[in-house]
C-alpha cells in the first residue's frame, strides 16, 4: 500500500472515530481520534497495516492531556501518530497492552508520571519512580510543585 492508500483506508474505515488528520510532512501524519476508539484503531494499524509500535508519549497541555501513540510502517517509511485528547476530569483510557505487550511499560510510565488510568492493564505498578513515592503526586503535571514544602516533607526527603 502506498502512503495515500493507507490514509484513505484509515479515513474510510474509521470515519466516525477520526476527528482530524494532520498531514505534517511526507514522513509523518498525526491522526486525532476519539479516546473510546483507541483499541479498535490501534489494533487495525498494528495487525492489518503491519505497523510497528514505537512508543507512546503523554503530554500535559494545561487544559487537557494528550497521549500520542507512534506507529511506523516501515515499507513506506511513514510514521503515524495517533493523538488522543483526554479531559482533566476524566483521565482514563483503554489500555492497548492486551493487543501488544510492548506498550505495557510505557503505559506504566505514563500512569505514574501523569496520572492517567489505563483500563484493562494487568499490572499498573510503578516503573521508574521509587516505591515510596506518595500516591497522587504526578511529577510531569503542570500543577506539580517540587518546591512545595508539604510535598517534600511527605516524601520524607
Amino acid at each position: 500500500m502506498t502512503r495515500e492508500e493507507v490514509l484513505d483506508d484509515l479515513r474510510r474505515k474509521f470515519k466516525d472515530d477520526i476527528i482530524e488528520v494532520f498531514d505534517k510532512s511526507p514522513k509523518r501524519v498525526y491522526v486525532e481520534i476519539k479516546p473510546d476508539s483507541i483499541v479498535q484503531v490501534a489494533s487495525y494499524i498494528f495487525k492489518d497495516l503491519k505497523a510497528r509500535f514505537n512508543t507512546a508519549s503523554g503530554v500535559d497541555l494545561r487544559y487537557h492531556m494528550e497521549i500520542l501513540y507512534h506507529f511506523l510502517i516501515e515499507d513506506i517509511n511513514l510514521l503515524i501518530s495517533l493523538r488522543v485528547k483526554l479531559q482533566k476530569q476524566k483521565l482514563e483510557i483503554d489500555s492497548i497492552s492486551p493487543i501488544f505487550e510492548g506498550s505495557s511499560w510505557i503505559e506504566r510510565e505514563i500512569h505514574e508520571i501523569l496520572g492517567i488510568n489505563f483500563k484493562g492493564h494487568k499490572d499498573l505498578r510503578k516503573l521508574l519512580l521509587p516505591d515510596d513515592w506518595p500516591e497522587g503526586v504526578y511529577p510531569l503535571r503542570r500543577d506539580y510543585k517540587e518546591w512545595d514544602k508539604n510535598v517534600i516533607r511527605d516524601r520524607g526527603v
Partner: protein
C-alpha cells in the same frame, strides 16, 4: 513443582547499572521475570522544563553516554521544526560527519562487547583498539572524546578546520584494512560459528 524466586541485583557484580531481576524458577526453568529498572531515573524530562532550548541541548546530550549525538540530533531537529529554522548547508554536513563518526565507534563498541560476552576477547581487544582511532578523530574534530557538544538549535557550535581534514581522512583510512581483517577472522572462525548453532 515448587516455585522459587531468585533476586539478581539491584547491586550485583555482573551488572553495569543498578537493576533488579526477580526470576521465578521451577527447578532449572525460568517461568517468570519481574524487572525493576527505576534505580537510576534522573528526571531529565522534568529538569528540561526549567531550561531554555539552548541549555537543554547539553542536558539531552547526557541521556546516553555512548550515543551522545543521536539524542541532541533528534532534539535540535524538533526545535528547528517547531520554531522553524533553516539549517545552513555546512552545518548539515558537519552534523552528518559527527553522527557518522559516532555510528562507527558505537558499532565497534557493541561488536567488542559481544565478543567479550562470548568469551572471545580477541574481538573485544581489536574492536576497541579500532574504536580508539575513531575517538581520536572525534577529539580532533570536536575537542572531546565523547559528549561532543557540537549541536545547537539552528546549526553547530564549532566549525571543522580545513587543516584537520587530511589528518582525519588518514586516520579513518588506516583502520579500514584492520577492520576487514577482523571481519574476516570473526566470520570465518569455526569455533565462534559452532557456538552460535542451535
Amino acid at each position: 513443582m515448587e516455585k522459587t524466586i531468585i533476586p539478581i541485583g539491584p547491586y550485583h557484580p555482573l551488572q553495569e547499572e543498578p537493576e533488579l531481576f526477580l526470576l521465578t524458577v521451577e527447578g532449572e526453568k525460568v517461568v517468570d521475570i519481574d524487572v525493576h529498572i527505576g534505580y537510576n531515573h534522573r528526571g531529565i524530562e522534568k529538569l528540561s522544563e526549567t531550561k531554555t532550548f539552548d541549555q537543554s541541548t547539553f542536558l539531552i546530550e547526557r541521556i546516553c553516554g555512548i550515543c551522545s549525538t543521536s539524542h541532541p540530533f533528534a532534539y535540535t531537529r524538533a526545535v528547528e521544526d517547531i520554531i522553524p529554522i533553516e539549517v545552513p548547508e555546512r552545518a548539515k554536513y558537519i552534523r552528518t560527519i559527527i553522527a557518522e563518526g559516532e555510528r562507527i565507534h558505537s558499532h565497534l563498541l557493541w561488536l567488542g562487547l559481544a565478543g567479550h560476552f562470548l568469551g572471545y576477547n580477541t574481538v573485544y581487544m581489536w574492536a576497541w583498539k579500532l574504536r580508539e582511532e575513531i575517538l581520536d578523530v572525534m577529539e580532533i574534530l570536536t575537542g572531546n572524546r565523547n559528549n561532543y557538544a557540537m549541536f545547537k538549535p539552528g546549526g553547530v557550535r564549532r566549525d571543522i578546520k580545513s587543516e584537520d581534514i587530511p589528518v582525519v581522512i588518514k586516520k579513518i583510512d588506516s583502520i579500514v584494512p584492520t577492520l576487514e581483517m577482523l571481519k574476516k577472522a570473526v566470520i570465518d572462525d569455526p569455533v565462534c560459528m559452532l557456538g552460535r548453532k542451535e
